[in-house]
């Protein structure tokens, strides 16, 4: 199993600014994933954070808007850049190991005003 610490747990930000979300895992993991969950919606995969290489982004998400760092096997950050009210969502850091469940951080509830 994996225990994920994600921070901040919530934030209220002004439009046009950026927020960096941190994700710390208690064990080394190969792949980490970042999801977005808009109000009342499902979890949408933003990108896969790979250690030692650039993140892999899903359709509709770009590096300039959501830059990701993965400096080692236990840590990753997601930055939400140049925020607008449409970026108001819950952002979830996730770890999935082979043939087992996904482990989620507690999420970052972002409100852009």
């Amino acid at each position: 199993s994996a225990v994920i610490s994600q921070k901040p747990s919530r934030d209220i930000c002004q439009r046009g600014t950026s927020l960096t979300i941190q994700c710390q895992v208690d064990s080394q993991v190969t792949m980490m994933f970042w999801y977005r969950q808009q109000p009342g919606q499902s979890l949408t995969l933003i990108a896969t954070a790979n250690q030692g290489s650039e993140a892999t982004y899903e359709s509709g998400f770009v590096i300039d808007k959501f830059p990701i760092s993965r400096p080692n096997l236990t840590f990753s950050t997601l930055t939400v850049s140049n925020m607008s009210p449409e970026d108001s969502s819950i952002y979830l850091c996730t770890v999935v190991e082979m043939n087992t469940e996904a482990f989620f951080g507690q999420g970052t509830r972002l409100t852009v005003v």
């Binding site: 994933f33 499902s42 979890l43 999935v96 043939n99 469940e101 996904a102 989620f104």
Partner: protein, 108 residues
């Protein structure tokens, strides 16, 4: 490709049964099921792997038809605590794509 869940919403009385379905247009490596309550992170219920292996909670049952690329989650003798939104997720190389969810509401 996002898996398709049905129904979108279910209202049950306590003690009744429900089935939630999940289908994919792509070949599946494994299927995950999660329940999420408002304001909380999703909670793991079950994973079904190719070849028939299943891992999950004892009181939850599910099926996985690899040929039809479908999975179903069976909730029997529902309890009030079963309320929430259920998501299926299709996994390929650890990347999980979630369906839109099924909202389940249990009435006393």
């Amino acid at each position: 490709q996002q898996p398709v869940q049905s129904p979108q919403a279910v209202i049950l009385r306590e003690g009744e049964d429900a089935v939630i379905n999940c289908s994919s247009s792509k070949a599946l490596y494994s299927v995950h099921w999660y329940r999420q309550k408002h304001g909380e992170a999703p909670v793991f219920l079950m994973i079904l792997l190719k070849g028939g292996e299943q891992k999950g909670h004892e009181k939850i049952s599910a099926s996985f038809n690899e040929k039809k690329q479908q999975s179903s989650l069976y909730l029997t003798a529902s309890q009030l605590s079963y309320s929430g939104t259920y998501f299926c997720g299709t996994e390929i190389y650890r990347k999980i794509i979630f369906g839109k969810g099924t909202r389940l509401h249990i009435l006393p």
